[in-house]
């Protein structure tokens, strides 16, 4: 006899799952009981289910394998919602298994009941409510298949308590998924690929915009080879940073709202724009009507619903971008660098990323990131949270390979960084992992510090503390007449009316005290308040054998530039000089 819970854990083993992020509770007791005697699967108890979901997400982004989390019904399950939506928007393969009340009381508002199949429907690639134990093996097989194939995404599986406890006489884990209605695209249409090859031959000013699809397809090396053969400059979105090494001469950087000038100019001036595994998000395109006005648009994506969604596409190609690149390679002749390559190169040289750190001035966040590059080993995985520090990281971190920069792109989820870094670290034991975060973001999942300490997850936490919600503050400064409504994290009731956002006489009272928080959670904490202390703190933090937190008190009024105001064309760039 095999119980539903045993079938479930057996399925995880057969799917190659080695880590599960979870949180137990009433209806999943029987499943956790099986895990108690399953040494092959490491179960990491997070302190909140949202963190379990982000940790599974970070694990999946870093390793390319499917992340798994396991939670109880009701609040345990609803706490995963943000994490699932986050994984959906960035196409991350995830299987979220939630317990559910017994089938006999489904729909009666039983204790800790929430309709998870319903709640997850719009934010997951697919969701299941298991209604018979006989269905469980096939549902699990299908879930893993759906999560990782085609355009990857999260799948939610809701398992009622009586189904986990039910017994089956005999049971075989299926070899194949059974989802006839689901046929993800494979190879691209040869005629369409031929059209793209012709367009490349005709183009004077071609450019490639590569997105997260390149990472999902494992096609970064093919992309670089193709770009080199055709001498086409490449911009990579936030999700694809690392696909082209950032010192490559064809690399334009990240385009968009906080993109590199050269990347934005290239997208606006090109006559052939080849989107590969990207969805032309509004943060990339700015004002759609004025985007790439003279370009023929070619778009390669595995998800047909992305093609034509935002842009009128002349050459649509539905297919796996790796396979399309391979086919395209056979049809395209080498292309020599031309005047366009020279112009694009010049844009990069005329508009480099820069900052000026005054030795006696306040610490600049860009400077800290630059020094993190110095102290971090070459193979370090960097996770970020969301906000100014995220954009500075995207711009200033050295990107050398795919799956080494983990950031919440589509959803922009504050609180993603620390648990995602934990997941990455568990996916690659021994490989250094750093999370660059802000004082706002870290507090959204700061409860995971003991998880790092107790499980010896050696994540290095770099907190760029500017004592405010910097990105929102930046928008308030630029677009809301400096009305700093609720963005100062030092604000007390008595400061309200008078403060213009940054007062010389502001009491130097930062809460929480991150160094003491770190120490209270069993890891060393270090703080730099002066430029001269930055290297010292990084050296100490990186030397710790285990997790460590490093706090940098950075300049509050520093803004992220370049910046394209929301809804403007992406060549309408504020280069900005911070006060």
């Amino acid at each position: 006899m095999t119980t539903g819970a045993e079938i479930l854990i057996d399925a995880l083993k057969k799917e190659g799952v080695d880590v599960v992020f979870g949180y137990p509770g009433g209806v999943v007791l029987s499943i956790f009981d099986v895990l108690f005697r399953t040494p092959e699967i490491r179960v990491v108890l997070t302190r909140h289910e949202q963190a379990a979901t982000h940790a599974a997400d970070g694990y999946a982004r870093a390793t390319g394998k499917t992340g798994v989390c396991l939670v109880t019904s009701g609040p345990g399950a609803t706490n995963t919602i943000t994490g699932l939506a986050n994984a959906k928007l960035d196409s991350v393969p995830l299987v979220m298994i939630s317990g559910q009340v017994k089938t006999a009381v489904l729909g009666t508002d039983a204790f800790q009941e929430a309709d998870m199949a319903g709640l997850t429907r719009p934010i997951c690639k697919h969701s299941y409510l298991v209604q018979k134990v006989e269905d469980l093996p096939q549902v699990l097989k299908n879930s893993f298949h759906i999560a990782r194939s085609g355009r990857p995404g999260p799948v939610a599986v809701d398992v009622p308590a009586d189904i986990a406890q039910a017994e089956l006489e005999s049971y075989v884990y299926p070899d194949h998924p059974d989802v006839p209605s689901y046929q993800p695209a494979g190879k691209g249409n040869a005629r369409q690929i031929g059209k793209l090859a012709e367009a490349i031959e005709r183009a004077e000013r071609p450019v490639i915009l590569a997105g997260g699809g390149i990472v999902a397809a494992g096609a970064a090396a093919e992309l670089v080879r193709f770009a080199e053969k055709t001498n086409i400059p490449v911009a990579t979105t936030l999700m694809a940073l690392g696909c082209v090494p950032d010192d490559h001469e064809l690399f334009l950087g990240m385009p968009g709202m906080h993109g590199r000038v050269a990347a934005n100019y290239a997208l606006m001036e090109c006559d052939l724009l080849i989107g590969m595994g990207t969805r032309f998000d509004d943060r990339v395109t700015g004002d759609l009507k004025s985007f790439a006005p003279r370009a023929v648009i070619a778009h390669v994506d595995i998800d047909p619903s992305e093609i034509g969604k935002n842009l009128r596409t002349r050459i649509p190609i539905v297919g796996d971008v790796g396979s399309v690149l391979a086919d395209l390679d056979k049809m395209v002749a080498p292309r020599l660098a031309n005047e366009w390559n020279r112009i694009v190169r010049e844009w990069s040289l005329v508009h480099p990323l820069s900052f000026t750190q005054e030795p006696e001035g306040e610490i600049l966040p860009q400077y800290v990131i630059d020094r993190v590059n110095h102290w971090a080993a070459r193979d370090t995985i960097i996770a970020t949270d969301v906000g100014q520090h995220q954009m500075w990281s995207a711009l200033f971190v050295r990107h050398r390979e795919p799956r080494a920069f983990l950031s919440s792109g589509g959803m922009g989820t504050m609180g993603f960084g620390l648990p995602a870094a934990m997941g990455a670290s568990l996916g690659f034991p021994g490989r250094p992992v750093v999370v660059i975060t802000g004082d706002g973001s870290i507090q959204m999942n700061i409860q995971e510090l003991p998880t790092c300490t107790l499980n010896r997850i050696p994540v290095k936490i770099v907190v760029l503390n500017n004592s405010c919600l910097g990105m929102v503050r930046q928008w308030q400064e630029l677009f809301y007449d400096g009305h700093f409504s609720k963005t100062c994290l030092k604000e007390r009731p008595e400061c309200r009316a008078a403060c213009p956002g940054h007062r010389e006489d502001c009491p130097n009272a930062f809460w929480p005290d991150f160094v003491r928080v770190a120490e209270a959670n069993g890891m060393p904490g270090f703080r730099a308040e002066r430029v001269s202390e930055v290297d010292e703190v990084l050296e100490k933090g990186f030397a710790v054998d285990g997790p460590a937190l490093m706090e940098f008190r950075v300049k509050k009024t520093e803004n992220v530039f370049p910046m394209v105001p929301g809804g403007k064309p992406i060549n309408d760039i504020l280069l900005g000089v911070s006060p």
């Binding site: 319903g118 409510l129 619903s305």
Partner: protein, 158 residues
């Protein structure tokens, strides 16, 4: 320009499949004009017909999004144009104590059928293009319609 479209959607017969499709439309701010859904000749396959208004870009995007759902087997988009075999069904219940012969004349003219008759009411069954249904309802108004139920347009893909 917004146009009326019928989507003929073939899906796997699973719990929640209709909710998935209606949720997809509501999340994009679309109102469903009508929906007809039932099992097909194959009990594992379910067919949903729904009518929405939208521009051709919107309708194309929605069609792709519905196609993307894991349970969707096929989506056929039928724009409502003159002459297409798009039909609606209606059951109309009218109080009929006195004007029976006049009602029967109209039933004959429209090619409708009486499916139920009682001393105080008649129930009439009619199918046809939406315009014909509208006209019939207009003609029945003077008799005082007690209740009616319309199926919404249904179509068969070309």
């Amino acid at each position: 320009m917004t146009e009326k479209h019928t989507f003929v959607i073939t899906v796997a017969n699973r719990v929640g499949v209709l909710a998935r499709i209606s949720g997809l439309l509501s999340s994009r701010g679309f109102n469903i004009e009508s929906v007809v859904a039932c099992q097909t000749e194959n009990p594992d396959v379910y067919q949903i017909q729904l009518v929405i208004y939208g521009t051709s870009d919107q309708v194309q995007q929605i069609s792709k999004q519905i196609q993307k759902l894991i349970d969707t087997i096929k989506v056929v988009d039928i724009p409502h144009r003159k002459g297409d075999p798009i039909r609606e069904f209606i059951l109309v219940k009218i109080p009929a104590r006195r004007d029976r012969s006049e009602i029967l004349d109209l039933v004959g003219v429209f090619g409708a059928k009486i499916v139920d008759c009682s001393p105080s009411s008649m129930t009439i069954d009619l199918s046809g293009p939406s315009r014909k249904i509208d006209q019939f309802l207009e003609m029945m108004k003077p008799f005082g319609i007690r209740e009616y139920i319309r199926s919404g347009p249904i179509a068969v893909g070309a």
